[in-house]
Amino acid sequence: MMKRIWPIATAVMMDSLRRKVVYVVLGFAALLVLAIPSLPDYGLGVESAVFREVALALSYVTGLVVVLSLAANRVPAELEKRTVYNVLAKGVSRWEYLVGTWLGILGVMAGAIVAFTAIEMVVGYFTYGELMWRLWEGALATWFEMGVVSAFAVAVSSVTGPVVVVTAALAALFIGHSRSTLLGGEGAMALRPFYPSLDAFNVVNPVAHGSGVPLVYMLSMVVVFVGFAGACLSVGVLLLSRRDL
């Protein structure tokens, strides 16, 4: 099984590394990180917290742009150009193809987020003289959330084109972070456990202003990540398996 999934994931990663969009987005975001310390009106003693908060936000947006640019078009392009024929004819299952594609995107995201967080660490150290290790907790949370977003995008992309994928992914993100807004009323409280909330990955406060993310919470994030990504990929596999290529 992994014999077939791994080459697909590797191919996705190698292909992504050749795409200029990844480097352009990362480069632009890195410039913004360099510019964070120049933001005016920091309160005394909170400069580094503001830096961490803005850095996390930049990581998130950068990750989102990269993940959508990779995930939205990958499967539709392979189906349209029929490069997928050669893959599936080799005895690769559709689920192996989809999971391999997702893992490849996840790998690229890991590389991009690690690189980006390292830049933030360096800038933070030279600006505030502080090694901001907690940024890695935020990076992990961002990576988990982008993993879910990419699983959703890959699933939707198995039956539709990039524009719909991007729109659907952004809508899912909005819904995923709007539980308290949409279910805030007492009448809807009973629905909270069923709401597909992505708030579990929001660790801005403990990373930027608190004392970090507890280990137990980290483990619960893993469970949420596996659950959501697994559910999205399962739906994607079901959709793709019913499709005539």
Partner: protein
Amino acid sequence: MADAAISVQGARKVYSTPGKPKRTAVSNVSIQVESGTIHGLLGPNGAGKTTTLKMLLGLVRPTGGTFEVLGMDSTRPSGRRRVGFLPEQPYFPVNLTARQAMRFYGSLGGVDAARIPERTTALLARVGLADAERTELSKFSRGMLQRLGIAQALLGDPEVVILDEPASGLDPVGQRDVRNLMLELRDRGVTVLLSSHQLSEVEAVCDQVTILNRGSVAAEGDINALLNVDGRTSVRAMNMAELPPQVVSVAEEIAVSGGMWVFSMPTEQTRAVVDAIDEAGGTIAAITPKRESLDDYFAALLAAHTEDVAS
């Protein structure tokens, strides 16, 4: 009948889109391909050839029918692991080099990683791409991509090879190479299912053919049996200024070129015609069963089939 390497029984594919009438692409197709033979799949555009192949390879979900390759259900991935496939107009990730693409497909096909470089070199050389191993596929011509498609189909030494329009985009030399390659594969015991519009190619290499029209089988069988005209014999004779009167009275489709007479006649007249030519001092170069060209057979068959459907 010998072992069937490929067996398609009652294949049927109906496309249904909500709000649109259902469209039957394949209504009832059965194909048996014997092991170690080259089997041609023919038909006009829209006959259902590619859809049948896609169902066989699990790319399209069949509405009905069974599909087996080497005794295994080929609609399941495990049933396709001993199959090599060349799609019509193959596409590849264009940012890979030929060598990288072969490594990718080799690893997907379960080829031992240590063997992939050696097999890649051999196969790329076999299809005429030895000098292009390290060239990015974005710089490949249509014909080069076709050759690469053939090479990747042969990675892992598959026991069954399915080729959809393998000569498409190739120059005459390339087409000849593909024909020779198919014959080589057959000599090694590999079963080849060939879908092609190139009737001369099919006629040159195939042992058996199945002809599809409008989603069903219009004719099938041994290609010689299909093309031989019952009861008629072709003769090629020379060293005669004119044909003897006894020959002229029974011969049809008489043609002469460069001193060689070519004509056909009823098979039961063979003895009399040979004697007449002998007596006239002529030399018989060949006597063979009269054979239609596949082009003529194909055209006549489709015309008859269309009339049947219309009536």
